[in-house]
């Protein structure tokens, strides 16, 4: 009996095609309340954090005091991965930029793309085939 079998698939996410969901879901900020390396971080927390966090309602900001350690910012992403950056001796401006860097990344590992375009779709134009050229124009060995 001629029949059609069906191979099941799991649909693949294409974030940003229908709706965009920010991959960064949580940011953990640790600081030391007396250490010299945390001066910039304390400054950031005191003066800027409230305004900065209110710009990103999608992200949960958690502040943790860790006495005796360097300040660290850690981003948690929807792909269950995390990225952390040590903010030792950095001033508030640099820390803010680094937070933006965490927010703008997807959480996946950094890798060098080999192609100019990365896509799930196959090429619209198709692959060039020498056999579909007009026989008079074909290359002859």
């Amino acid at each position: 009996m001629a029949a059609i079998n069906f191979i099941q698939q799991v649909s693949k996410a294409r974030n940003g095609l229908g709706s965009f969901v920010l991959p960064c879901k949580k940011i953990l900020i640790t600081y030391c309340d007396f250490g010299g390396s945390s001066v910039g971080m304390r400054d950031f927390l005191r003066s800027r954090l409230k305004g900065f966090a209110s710009q990103y309602p999608e992200i949960e900001f958690q502040v943790l005091e860790k006495p005796g350690f360097h300040p660290v910012i850690k981003g948690f992403y929807t792909n269950e991965k995390s990225k952390q950056i040590c903010c030792r001796k950095w001033n508030a401006d640099v820390i803010e930029n680094k937070l933006k860097l965490l927010i703008n990344s997807t959480g996946s590992k950094l890798k060098k793309p080999k192609q100019n375009v990365i896509s799930l779709n196959s090429s619209v134009r198709g692959i060039w085939s020498p056999f579909h050229v007009d026989p008079s124009q074909r290359y002859k060995i």
Partner: protein
């Protein structure tokens, strides 16, 4: 003289010789269709697990048609809107999904609560059932208008790839960032986490638990135990049902289209034809077209070990599809498969769905009787 005349005759014959295109000697037979028993197809096969609710579990109101007043017996506690607003995971999920302001935070809490033994908070059971039906409706409608030529029973299969539990679990985990509540009460206490925060995570009775590294415990299934994927999928379904409850039908439709139907499924690669040649000849016979002929269109290196053949399958003078392969047989079969896919995966341009405003009725193939 005689010789000369014979020669001239041969010459005439040679000049007259013309290579005819090979075509099938079989003429299309008169189509005599025996009445085939019609199958009935359901468009919606989707439903979430554990759908049956006993009437004992329900408080039935006096007016039995007032569906809003039905309540479950076991629900005695409730997370209020003010409490739900204090949970960071709920607020961020609300913002991440860009839910409208009318969408209550307490609905998200409810969507993340699966039925558990001895659970006193309202759970997502009914929401998930409703959401599942919504999802299957919008998916079927979308696929029927997108691919109007696929036979009825493959809509179910194509749709399943979009809304079955593994796809929805992927939406919940890897796109929306819903977390499951893994930590025990002691761990939460030691971490100094308020007890309210557990409502921001997905809570369900796990059937499979990881006791420690290398040891996995498969528990006995009870009424409330769920697989991971089912629990996550139910949360997604419940959230979609919540959109319907708060914002109405149009918003629920947009939400499913943006978050679930925008995902990629590769439909051509799903089909696995067994005996594609038979299928194609039957299809042509049913459509009253001329029978199939296969012709070699071009080739290269027939005697080498890297031979390439390009073959076309024709119905009369019409090229249905081409196929290429390293042997004649392979190329032939590929051309059949391409022809079948070209027929079944036909997409009408600018098709509108029945729930759209400017909907024009469109032709939907009900499928061939020979399957």
């Amino acid at each position: 003289m005689l010789r000369n005349s014979r020669l001239s005759c041969r010459a005439v014959q040679l000049t007259c010789f013309k290579r005819a295109l090979s075509s099938s000697p079989v003429k299309p037979p008169q189509l005599t269709s025996t009445p085939v028993k019609r199958r009935r197809f359901k468009f919606s096969y989707e439903r979430s697990e554990n759908t049956v609710i006993d009437q004992k579990q329900l408080k039935v109101p006096e007016n039995k048609l007032d569906f809003r007043k039905y309540q479950r017996n076991n629900i005695s506690l409730n997370i209020s809107e003010a409490q739900a607003k204090k949970i960071p995971a709920v607020i961020t999920l609300h913002a991440r999904l860009q839910l409208p302001s009318s969408y209550k935070y307490s609905t998200i809490v409810r969507a993340l609560t699966c039925p558990k033994e001895g659970e006193q908070y309202p759970d997502n059971k009914q929401l998930a059932i409703f959401g599942a039906n919504l999802l299957s409706f919008y998916t079927t409608e979308y696929l029927i208008t997108k691919l109007s030529q696929i036979a009825n029973f493959y809509y179910k299969e194509c749709g399943r790839c979009l809304y079955w539990r593994f796809s929805l679990a992927d939406v919940a985990k890897n796109s929306w960032g819903i977390e499951e509540d893994r930590t025990s009460n002691i761990e939460k206490y030691l971490a100094g986490e308020p007890s309210l925060f557990r409502f921001g995570r997905l809570r369900f009775d796990r059937r499979v638990t990881r006791v420690e590294k290398g040891i996995t415990k498969f528990g006995y299934p009870t009424e409330t135990t769920l697989d991971d994927s089912t629990a996550f999928a139910n949360a997604v379904r419940a959230i979609i049902a919540g959109v319907y409850a708060h914002e109405g039908e149009e918003a629920a439709k947009n939400f499913t289209h943006e978050h679930i139907l925008s995902r990629k499924i590769d439909i051509p690669s799903m089909f696995d034809f067994k005996e594609p040649g038979k299928l194609l000849t039957r299809l042509l016979r049913v459509k009253g077209m001329e029978p199939l002929t296969v012709r070699l269109m071009s080739e290269s290196g027939r005697l080498s070990n890297r031979a390439v053949f390009v073959v076309g399958c024709f119905s009369g003078e019409n090229l249905l599809a081409g196929g290429e392969g390293s042997s004649l047989k392979e190329a032939r079969i590929r051309s059949f498969v391409n022809a079948l896919k070209a027929f079944y995966l036909y997409k009408p341009l600018d098709s509108k769905m029945p729930s759209d405003k400017e909907f024009n009725p469109l032709f939907v193939d009900e499928g061939e009787p020979f399957y």
